[in-house]
């Protein structure tokens, strides 16, 4: 790769090595290990260049851009409905959640509000994409620490959620279902009951994985005390979502900063936090969120209002000039869109504040002084999606 000259990289790493929290008294010849860009541990195409002393990491630097597709530029040359199609593919594991905040930002500029039924369905689909996303993260964590089986269970039970998403939106995981002012369609017949059955299955998966994986002594030995994020450090890096809640920060954009257009305030639910801040805490909180998500969906389905799913909006969408920032609590963390409009068919500027970008920014700090296997554990527990980093 031509991206970085090795000497440049080494100089930077050795600079960082000075303050690394490792014992550098014994002078041994270091080794630079290059994980990626395609490596089983990096969820795709993240590349980690780690300078090692034995098996201990002196300094590690993630290198990304292998999945950079230029979303912010492309969004400037597409109309608003076209942007929705595009941004589906940012966090490709939980697609619907990507749409929500952009649509809400556009709605805010246009000063329209979706009808209550659409808001409910939006919230349900948002939670479903969270479940589809996080389940996979949990299964993948198993693979990262060497247990092959959980990922198969994750893929098996994820299908239940994908089936329901497909039944209502027509797409397994790029729904493109959200519209400015509401939703494309109403729910199909029988969907509510099927979804409730699926949620039962998901809760079964949670129980199974909690016993099989989280209760395993080796899993705990591998994850407890590994990669601790102190709350204040995490916040200054912009770490959000589960990763910061696992450090004891009780802050959830769904509860504390919920934008208009979602229905999280209509039901009772709990924000799960964990005081430890290590890899185990992050994975534990993820599992609890999946379970909580199933309850949120159940409750929302119970009092689903009737009515239209689309507000009155013009056929050709021109968003009035202005600036708006809307953030939602996405599966990976806080995702926000800063939309600048000049009153055209297409946005003037879309700044995508994606969760993983900030979550992974803390990796160089976290990876100093750990062992090579812990790189994988920590990255796995931070749980990022490359599209969400590189955009």
């Amino acid at each position: 790769m031509t991206a970085i000259s090795e000497t440049e990289q080494l100089r930077y790493i050795s600079q960082q090595a000075a303050d690394a929290r490792v014992n550098v008294e014994i002078e041994t010849e270091g080794m630079t290990l290059n994980l990626g860009p395609q490596h089983p541990a990096t969820h795709g195409t993240l590349r980690i260049v780690a300078k090692l002393d034995g098996e201990q990491v002196v300094a590690a630097e993630p290198i990304m851009g292998y999945m950079h597709r230029g979303y912010e530029k492309l969004a400037e040359v597409r109309t608003y409905p076209q942007v929705t199609t595009l941004i589906n593919r940012i966090d490709w594991v939980g697609s619907f959640a990507n749409e929500t905040s952009f649509i809400l930002a556009a709605e805010k500029l246009m000063e329209v509000e979706a009808p209550p039924r659409a808001q409910y369905i939006r919230t349900i689909l948002h939670e479903m994409s969270r479940i589809a996303n996080v389940i996979l993260g949990i299964g993948d964590m198993g693979v990262q620490v060497g247990a092959v089986t959980p990922i198969f269970f994750a893929f098996r039970d994820r299908e239940y959620v994908l089936n329901q998403i497909e039944a209502v939106t027509g797409g397994r995981f790029h729904p493109n279902f959200d519209r400015i002012g509401g939703l494309k369609d109403d729910l199909p017949a029988g969907w509510v009951q099927n979804t409730k059955n699926s949620m039962d299955k998901i809760r079964g998966f949670c129980d199974q994985i909690e016993e099989l994986m989280y209760g395993n002594e080796i899993f705990q030995a591998r994850t407890r005390g590994i990669g601790i994020i102190p709350p204040e450090i995490g916040l200054s890096y912009g770490v959000s979502g589960v990763n910061i809640r696992a450090s004891g920060v009780d802050w959830d954009a769904r509860r504390d900063n919920m934008p208009h257009g979602l229905s999280y305030d209509k039901v009772d639910w709990k924000v799960w936090t964990h005081p430890d801040g290590d890899s185990y805490a992050r994975m534990w909180c993820r599992l609890q969120e999946v379970r909580e998500g199933t309850y949120i969906i159940d409750k929302l389905l119970d009092d689903l209002p009737s009515g239209p799913v689309m507000a009155k909006v013009p056929r050709i969408i021109k968003v009035p000039a202005g600036e708006a920032y809307v953030e939602t609590e996405n599966p990976l963390g806080v995702m926000g869109y800063y939309v600048v409009s000049k009153g055209d068919l297409n946005p003037f500027r879309v700044k995508i504040r994606s969760a993983s970008f900030n979550n992974v920014a803390i990796a160089p700090w976290l990876l100093k002084g750990v062992y090579v296997p812990d790189i994988i554990t920590i990255l796995g527990s931070l749980y990022f999606v490359l599209g969400d980093i590189d955009r």
Partner: protein
């Protein structure tokens, strides 16, 4: 040359017979293990079907694999040490074949009846370390090097509990000869009751568990598979191998699993002997191998069940288990066994 099956066979005939037998004894279990465990049991654990298309229930899948690997290009990395790189898989496989030598399959069905059989087995099992180190070093890849070094550290650390666990059996049987260990179990009795003989798993249960754990580590199976950790080191020392040479490693891995399980079966489960039958009868020369295979499957099932369900330890945790837990416990086991041996 001693007779096999009490039939007089000329020397050259015996050589051929033994060669075929040795290959079958090492590769047969390997093939069975790959099919039954890697394809079918793993798929069952993961609620899948496994290979189904090649042959009925995918039973010919293995032949397809072997045939495929023979057709693959044999790649040498540019900076590899070619001779060492080429030899490494054979060294690993050699260790397996040397192991098979001392395994008794029946009262007369054996390849070599060494008086120091178990000692020999434990010694040659370490040869594979050299092969793995060769592979790791010669590949000129950092992943391979890390994998090779991890493997060396791991195999050396677990050699000790392995040997110490066997010591208990040796003390109880009073011999290093594997054949005599089987006979000792066949003729032994527990508190005067000889109907079951005395499979050492009953009296040496601690030793059996330690042996099993150490064996898992020697075989670099999860949860001790750091040398080949797929999610960290890609496949460790095998990273740069392709085609036939990879096949040799692959076969070596499973053949060693089979042979080690056979040794475990011999040491702790009574080898080829079945309770209730006369251990001297010629019948055991016929059914002995099958009995041993059956007992081997008991051990391998345990090994592979752990493999498919457990996460992987970290390298330092692995060393900690060996030095802080397994070795002290096995030493205590030897002391207790020695005392009891004197008492009874």
């Amino acid at each position: 040359m001693s007779p096999i099956l009490s039939i007089e066979i000329p020397f050259w005939g015996q050589t051929i017979f033994r060669s075929i037998g040795g290959l079958a004894a090492a590769l047969g279990p390997a093939g069975l293990l790959v099919y039954i465990y890697l394809f079918k049991l793993m798929s069952f654990v993961q609620s899948r079907l496994g290979p189904m298309e090649a042959g009925p229930q995918g039973s010919l899948q293995l032949l397809a694999e072997v045939g495929k690997f023979f057709q693959k290009e044999d790649i040498f990395p540019e900076k590899a040490d070619r001779i060492v790189f080429a030899l490494a898989p054979f060294v690993v496989l050699m260790s397996t074949f040397l192991l098979v030598l001392v395994v008794p399959f029946g009262p007369d069905a054996w390849f070599v009846n060494l008086d120091t059989g178990i000692y020999f087995a434990l010694a040659v099992s370490s040869v594979s370390v050299i092969g793995i180190l060769m592979a790791g070093w010669a590949s000129a890849s950092k992943y391979s090097l890390l994998g090779g070094l991890r493997a060396a550290g791991q195999l050396i650390a677990y050699e000790l509990p392995l040997v110490l666990a066997v010591m208990g059996v040796v003390i109880q049987a009073g011999t290093l000869n594997m054949q005599d260990i089987v006979l000792a179990q066949a003729e032994g009795e527990i508190f005067g009751f000889g109907g079951l003989g005395n499979p050492f798993i009953l009296t040496q249960f601690v030793g059996f568990v330690i042996f099993l754990i150490a064996m898992q580590a020697e075989l670099t199976q999860p949860p001790f598979d750091m040398p080949v950790a797929e999610s960290e080191l890609v496949t460790g020392y095998m990273t740069e191998y392709s085609g036939i040479r990879f096949l040799l490693f692959f076969v070596g891995e499973f053949a060693t699993a089979g042979v080690f399980s056979m040794i475990a079966a011999v040491l702790f489960l009574g080898g080829w002997w079945v309770p209730g039958l006369d251990p001297d009868s010629n019948l055991f020369n016929i059914i002995g191998p099958a009995v041993l295979l059956g007992k081997m499957f008991i051990v391998t099932t345990l090994i592979f069940w752990f493999r498919f369900t457990y996460p992987r330890f970290r390298e330092d945790q692995l060393q900690k288990i060996a030095w802080k837990f397994l070795i002290p416990i096995s030493l205590a086991n030897i002391v207790v066994t020695g005392v009891l041996k004197v008492v009874f």
